[in-house]
Amino acid sequence: MTAPTPALAPALLQVLAGDGSTGETRIEGLTRLSGGASQQTWSFDWVQGDHRTPLILRRSPPQAVARTNIAAGLAAEAALIRLAGQQGVPVPALQAVLSPEHGLGEGFVMQRLAGETLGRRIATEARLAPARQHLARQCGQALARIHAMPLQHPAMPALRQAGPAAELAHYRQWQAGHGTLRPVFVLALQWLAAHRPAEPVTPALVHGDFRNGNLLVDERGLRGVLDWELAHAGDPMEDLGWLCVNSWRYGVHDRPVGGFGILADLFEGYRSAGGQVLPERVHWWQVMGTLKWGLICEDMLKAWLSGAERDVEKAAIGRRASEAEIDLLDLLVARR
């Protein structure tokens, strides 16, 4: 727990009160959950008389260094969460959006849902076995609804466009910039280029980080889809492929969908909500996603090597890139 910014609680009360009075209200249990220098996530309760509302604040402080151009930004994330809720996707309810006059930077406040978010527990804990029965199907339905959200909706934020060609080019360049020597990654890039699907005729909204680790689950199943900051316009099969990357099966290899479900159920859920599954594209994006995770590890290590980050976890994660290498070999190269 980090000591909260002294002005945070009173400013939050102003945000939540809107045009009303903050009298008889208070903030309790303000706790920082995660986040680096540029983005923060806080948990707290908003108490109004007898009424207690559990909430989450996500914000980028006013003086924060600009995020990479990959992230959609917090205002965009708030808009997406609101729109997704309207489209029947399980998401936390949006409570308030920060304005500059609040002095807290950019961000939003949303409902704090009860449930589990730790991927390993969702994949393996006995208590959640009933949820795992239909979780893959529910994920398929949620994804179909996300992918059906109209990009031309007036409330839809502007999103970067990135289909298979753009993503491949981006990650090829990224890998080259890391300066590491990984024949397995080079081989994977060759395979991805040789098998690249055509650009989708109609780009769709892609969540961008739909995986076991960003899902809120309780005994009944999927309760919330979280972390929309990597959303973009592109090939919807990207989301299905990412969900099946081995690193977030938490050791349960024979449950390709997040370590909790099978492809047939994911696809059936997707189709039942009106989506079209293109299995070869899903496989391509799973290979792409496997490589991408390895590159993310390299990137975090690079930040540590440069001195920009001091967190020991950033150093340690450099040694997880090899799991991406063995998973790529498992997908692409038979042992001879």
């Binding site: 397995v184 081989l187 099966r249 967190d311 040694r319 090899s322 799991e323 290498e325 042992r335």
Partner: protein
């Protein structure tokens, strides 16, 4: 060859954490879950360093020999050989079906996992054990 961070850099990372975070926190009685978590990360990093430092020299020798055979090169520096291999794959002169490539990549990668994450499921599924392969 193994990846960055090197054992020396790992020791630097862990030493820095223990000096700057854990020791002051423990000394003043302000421990919390985040400190415990980072201590665990640090301990795992040290275990990686230990496994790498204890690796049988035959592993690197085998990697060097396989690269020399694949590339037809007398070069002895593993990094230089690996760079050549990357260029050959990128250039299309060596590929998935080149005799020896699959075996080389599998053995090299299994040796990495033996040090980095011997409990990783894919490594175990391909016969990986706790001690690095010779």
């Amino acid at each position: 060859m193994h990846d960055a961070p090197s054992p020396q850099q790992i020791v630097e990372a862990v030493g820095g954490y223990l000096r700057d975070e854990a020791m002051p926190a423990l000394a003043s009685g302000h421990g919390d879950a985040s400190v415990a978590h980072h201590a665990r990360v640090a301990a795992n990093l040290l275990a990686i360093a230990q496994r790498e430092l204890a690796e049988d020299p035959a592993v690197a020798a085998g990697e060097r020999a396989r690269l020399q055979a694949l590339l037809g090169s007398p070069q002895t520096d593993i990094a230089a050989l690996t760079r050549q291999l990357c260029e050959a794959i990128a250039g299309g002169t060596i590929g998935q079906h080149t005799p020896g490539l699959a075996e080389h990549l599998w053995l090299t990668t299994l040796a990495k996992l033996a040090v980095d994450q011997p409990r990783y499921d894919t490594y175990r599924r391909h016969g990986g054990a706790d001690a690095p392969e010779a």
